[in-house]
Symmetry: C2
Amino acid sequence: MSKKVNAELTGVKEIARRANVSIATVDRVIHNRIGVSEKTKEKINKIILELNYQPNLLAQRLASRKIFKLATLIPKGSDETSFWEAPLKGIEQANLELNQFGVNIDIYFFDQNLKESFVKQSKIILKSNPDGVLFAPSFTNESIAFSEKCKSQNIPYVLIDSDLPNTGSLSYMGPNLFHSGYLGANLISYLTKQTDKILVVNISKEIDTHHHLLKKSEGFRAYFKDNKLRNPILQIDVRNTDYQSIQRSLSKALKEDDDIKVFFITNSRVSDVARFLEQSKKKILLIGFDFLQKNIEYLKSGGIDFLICQKPQEQGYRGVMALYQHLAFAIPVEKKYFMPIDIITKENYTYYRN
Amino acid sequence: MSKKVNAELTGVKEIARRANVSIATVDRVIHNRIGVSEKTKEKINKIILELNYQPNLLAQRLASRKIFKLATLIPKGSDETSFWEAPLKGIEQANLELNQFGVNIDIYFFDQNLKESFVKQSKIILKSNPDGVLFAPSFTNESIAFSEKCKSQNIPYVLIDSDLPNTGSLSYMGPNLFHSGYLGANLISYLTKQTDKILVVNISKEIDTHHHLLKKSEGFRAYFKDNKLRNPILQIDVRNTDYQSIQRSLSKALKEDDDIKVFFITNSRVSDVARFLEQSKKKILLIGFDFLQKNIEYLKSGGIDFLICQKPQEQGYRGVMALYQHLAFAIPVEKKYFMPIDIITKENYTYYRN
DNA sequence: CTGAAAGCGCTTACAG
DNA sequence: CTGAAAGCGCTTACAG
């Protein structure tokens, strides 16, 4: 272990010395603040380039006692699905790590079944005047409205889980939904004959607003089309997310077509389908989404064959980190950071990091 | 953006004030240095607990001008395989990020085909007196010898890519080899009938030292046994890694059994097998390892069906980070950090982060 | 437009 | 065994 030597032949002090000014003036130039004559500004900038000056981030953060206030808005975890616990965990982890670097995160929740709760929470957030916002745009119109307000208040915002059509966000961190459906189809094409019948199941209260499910089924179908596969593809939309409704819809579908070989469930509700198949003693290949405890149980028992996962925890973590890096260091952030499309089976789930 | 207030009602100053001592004494207690009476030590420790004191890492790193010198030893990337470029990238990324936190990394390489080069480089490293070492234990005996020397010099070391039987390492970050073979078999079981013949191919100059390949094929076989699957499994070991040799061995194998349905290649050399299959116009299901450019090309063209990947870049990155966290903050490190076992196809490789 | 000085929360010689 | 003081590389009022 050695010691740092000549630590600051390249710091602000050295720049100040060479430019024959005070370090305060150097600081002004570095941060593009006003109140410096063109001449000295040029002189200093030249030296900065010569020295290839890199600010010491440690010292920067320590000296500037700024506190960044971030707000996150995601759905509340519910009995029906624990999916949103993962992004929350990611946010909390980021919070923990950033705490000592002067970041405070306020975590807000909304009810996935209540647009008004989203609107209400977003208003509270705007009033709190945060330096940055992360949210899941579950309700398209309401989310667009929220993002517009963020823009007009000059608050950078990051989206996770699904994207918004307009482009004002600092970043989107989440799946490419179309492609995750496409991959599901790819996987199935390996597992079936071209004559096998496939059932696509969307389970969601608001299919119209949950356009992300539709994007997945679009991607799914596109694969079969692109590869000229002739499997018959049926589709049902289940609008009530309780088990009874799911059971009823699936029973009906199977009554109409009793030779379906594969079920493709476009979201995390796949465990309910596994339960149904278990009870009805049907052996049908089952593929769905998301690394939830319930789903893993069925993966273990063989009730679910494959899960497609997209690191929701990492979405929360990275989303917050992106905001921080943008605010604290003006580090450029990837506009779209698509999560990997992970394939989970009985034999690799123990190693998966969500 | 607000300001930090009362920043140090919990800092060393406050502790010193409450204990009625100087901050130097507080510092001594915090770092368990000698030269403090039992009495004051107790007093200070009590206050530390009361305040739930968390040192400001920024200030800590800034004030202590320690420089940590790390050394890494991994195989040189070769024409035959670019596999080791990934861990190198990870190491370089860590280097970049840690540079401003007082970490210097010296990167050493050895020739995968020359034990002596490993021995030679490890000696150079030991002479340089590093604070921590990361290495890939490609040659078992030589690696054990190296690790013993690290231990006796009190240098913490981290292993990547494959593990060593003794347990002195700070951490192992890499695949669970047995299980990655197991997963490969799991995947294949979905894609085949029980009567389909499977060929396992180990391609390596030193199968005996490259016991990690053997662990993969063990895991592979274990899956079939555990699940009472009756597929005939053949195996060949190719000891020369040039294309001609591989071609010859595979031709011979196919001549002896022309109804093989699946090839399982236990390492990254799978692209050579894909090339062979392409030329011989055989359509055989092909599964292998690692996210290399060559392999991806065949994945795209359909020559390779699945790749199993284990984030080699992250191995390098995390390995270095673990050393740093251990040295700088005495943060406890996971003894074994197994990488996820990722399944890559034509349709998700664009999203993969190696 | 510019600079001197204090301070961020620590560590580190040095002196006693 | 203990403390006063300087310093890490920055930022921030404040004064001129």
